[in-house]
Symmetry: C2
Subunit: 464 residues, 2 copies
């Protein structure tokens, strides 16, 4: 999507200069900054890239300073984070813009061009990290410099994490440790994907997560299923039975008593917003490579994806998993499971329910938790939501749909919890940007619209 | 167990010489033959041992000739077999003695002495293959030479397979191809284990096997359980549901309609025999390293192990099976299953029932069969059973219990089917012999009792 002048409400902007002109004017600089940023391979999961991670942080801090912000590198037990700030005279409010500068790994053989070499074509910018999340980070920086130069009385802080792709293991400790310096009135996160091009959306809800491994030991060695079968217990069979008692795979319903007690139903207004999001079943199927779905009704599907908890089996361990079969009864079996949780389910309470249930029906089964993430519900009405609506309409010519997101973003939950500030998610990525995939790219349409939208959002937020 | 003179019924033997004397007399020769045989590492599963397999076959054929038998090596598409024969003048009957000369692999570090070096101590003979199945093969050979030297009018043929430990892939073709030359009135197999020392048993039943893999594909790639979970199908969850519909892990009952139609219940006499076998629950648990069982009642357990079909899960494939969890929804899941079948279940009919059931409840699931073995039920009454009873009483001082065996021996089924002859299983191995384990051994008590028992059995069979 490109500039949509016709959609700009006449006289709606508080900006002194024509927004389109400044955006068009910074394009070469934006592209140059993006090039330099994506060519540092900040793959947080790769221990061999440790020095590149440091170089990425130093480059980002220098860039912030070059843009006129104060900046510093904040070390953690893992990769560092970068904090920058435009302090404004007379500012009553502070907004924190969160992005992450670490990226997913990339397999060069799957890419048309080398993944860590910037390649631009027809307004598209190819490189690992272009859309997730270096491009959106830069868009916010350009918008912030713009409003600052116009004298907007708003402190704008940048919090750039470098461990998002590895689950943000040190982010909450960092925020807790620097809680006072990081005090903010609201947070803007730009790290999500629209449901379709031309259909902007704002995410106000995230699912949480409770991951766990169930393990049952019934013996000490592989045994012969002929000699002992019928007498020996089969640990897989008992886990299968337990799973079946916990969960109905046909309806997707979890059978653990109390599991749904805190699940908040989506309101009529929420469902209307979902239906306006541009979510399309065939696109969803194609994006995930799925042959068929549990439902083909868009409303049912969005309700399931964004407002309902899940129960998933990720895999089993133990026994024989090679080609064909091997007729052993294994001494141990393990199943890897997780539940996505929704507002207001508390992962700790759900774990307690799970343990209680398993203790009653299969007391020998060990429960090993792996990962807690709380669900999140941010503003979908009120001043921040209104500011976002106006800003996006200004930037992209269309009001956003307020939707939720099926995934979990630990950093969002940490910021909401520790900083006690509303977090609004205004993503700029499109489904066609190949988020996490080969030939990842960002584009000038989303960048330029994003600069306008973020600029307008800062203006509105300064007035709240 | 050693010589049990007191148990020999006076005047019950038709042998002209005192049996104990001849048995005691051949002990040095037996030990020397066993030494030479076990020191050839005939590990059929190891491609690097191909020339040793050939050397083992040649050694065995030479030994048969040295004992006065005709002998030849019969080639197959895999390892060869050895066929030997003592032809007797005026013989009306032929008995075939089946053993196998291939062995399990051995990990030297787990053994007290090198596995392919014969080591004798206190009448125990340590080496891989000593009890499974070279020792019993030699016992039968010594007994056969003895009755031949006494002019017994019985043709005694030896059929020594060299692929038993790899599932007898070429045995049935071999028997079919040489069906006329292999014509026999009965078959004696010595390759089974007593339930306890001092408690001889004859196995007259084997379970069959139907192995299969179930596979479900629901997508094309790993997907994000947050972004798509709740909408996407989970192939593991659907397989778990299918397994649960096929099978109740708590009772062990298969829920496929018609599955039990042909299952033959054990008679009262059979159950009495089982209870006389010396089977002990604590020993069974210890032998298989099991913490607990589905039942601790010996009768229930033997009934399950020997006369009831099973349903076992051997493992799963697909998805994530590494440490902790990975929150993906996999595109494909596979489960490896098998059923042990009992007389008169037909594996082909059971496969048809299985396919029909799956087609109805989960039509997308692929069924891939891996392995058919028919169950076997041999004589437990009648002249062969009576001959075995008398022979074992004579050799070991105690009547055998007629029991069944939970495993499947493909060669037995092949011989029964192709040669249309009753197959009787008189094993000589003891639970303490470490069958398939480290420090495998045989002992002179079982060897000497076995020589007497087999000799007497040949005598009785010649009269049938």
């Amino acid at each position: 999507m490109d500039e949509t002048k016709g959609a700009v409400p006449a006289g709606a902007s508080a900006m002194p200069a024509k927004p389109d002109a400044w955006v068009t004017g910074v394009r070469p600089e934006f592209e140059d900054c993006l090039r330099q940023l994506v060519e540092i391979p900040t793959v947080s999961s790769d221990p061999a890239r440790k020095s590149e991670m440091r170089r990425g942080a130093e480059f980002a801090a220098d860039m912030l300073r070059h843009f006129g912000a104060e900046a510093r590198i904040v070390n953690t037990e893992g990769h560092p984070a970068v904090v920058g700030e435009f302090r404004a005279e007379g500012a009553l409010r502070t907004i924190t813009v969160y992005n992450h500068l670490d990226v997913q790994p990339a397999t060069p053989s799957e890419w048309t061009h080398p993944p860590f070499t910037y390649y631009a074509e027809d307004g598209r910018y190819y490189a690992r990290g272009a859309t997730d999340d270096k491009g959106p980070a830069l868009v916010a920086l350009f918008a912030a410099r713009r409003v600052r130069s116009c004298g907007l009385p708003l402190n704008i802080r940048f919090l750039w994490e470098m461990e998002e792709e590895i689950g943000s293991p040190n982010f909450e400790p960092l925020v807790r440790h620097h809680k006072d310096e990081l005090h903010t009135d609201s947070v803007l996160v730009s790290d999500t994907i629209w449901a379709a091009k031309g259909r902007p959306c704002v995410d106000y809800g995230l699912r949480g997560l409770l991951g766990f491994v169930l393990r049952l030991k019934t013996g000490t060695k592989d045994i012969h299923s002929g000699l002992a079968g019928g007498g020996a217990r089969n640990p897989f069979a008992e886990l299968v039975d337990l799973i079946n008692q916990m969960y109905d795979s046909r309806t997707g319903k979890v059978r653990i008593p109390g599991f749904y007690d805190e699940v908040q139903k989506p309101t009529k207004a929420e469902m209307e917003n979902f239906l306006a999001s541009g979510f399309a079943v065939p696109k969803f199927k194609a994006a995930h490579g799925l042959k068929s779905l549990r439902s083909n009704d868009p409303a049912t599907l969005m309700k399931s994806l964004w407002t309902q908890p899940t129960f998933e089996i990720h895999g089993f361990a133990g026994g024989y998993s090679g080609p064909a079969i091997k007729t052993i009864i294994p001494p141990m079996a393990e199943v890897k499971l997780s539940m996505r949780l929704v507002p207001n389910q508390d992962p700790k309470r759900i774990l307690t329910l799970l343990r209680k249930f398993i203790h009653e029906v299969a007391p020998e089964v060990e429960v090993e938790p792996h990962g807690f993430l709380e669900p999140y519900l941010g503003p979908s009405t009120g001043p921040y939501a209104e500011a976002a609506t106006e800003a996006i309409k200004y930037g992209f010519g269309r009001k956003p749909a307020f939707i939720r997101e099926g995934g979990s973003i630990g950093a969002v939950v940490s910021m909401a919890r520790v900083l006690k500030a509303p977090v609004l998610l205004m993503g700029l990525s499109l489904p066609e940007h190949s988020y996490h995939g080969p030939d990842e790219h960002f584009d000038w349409g989303q960048a330029s619209g994003g600069m306008k939208a973020f600029g307008r959002y800062f203006e509105r937020v300064a007035e709240i």
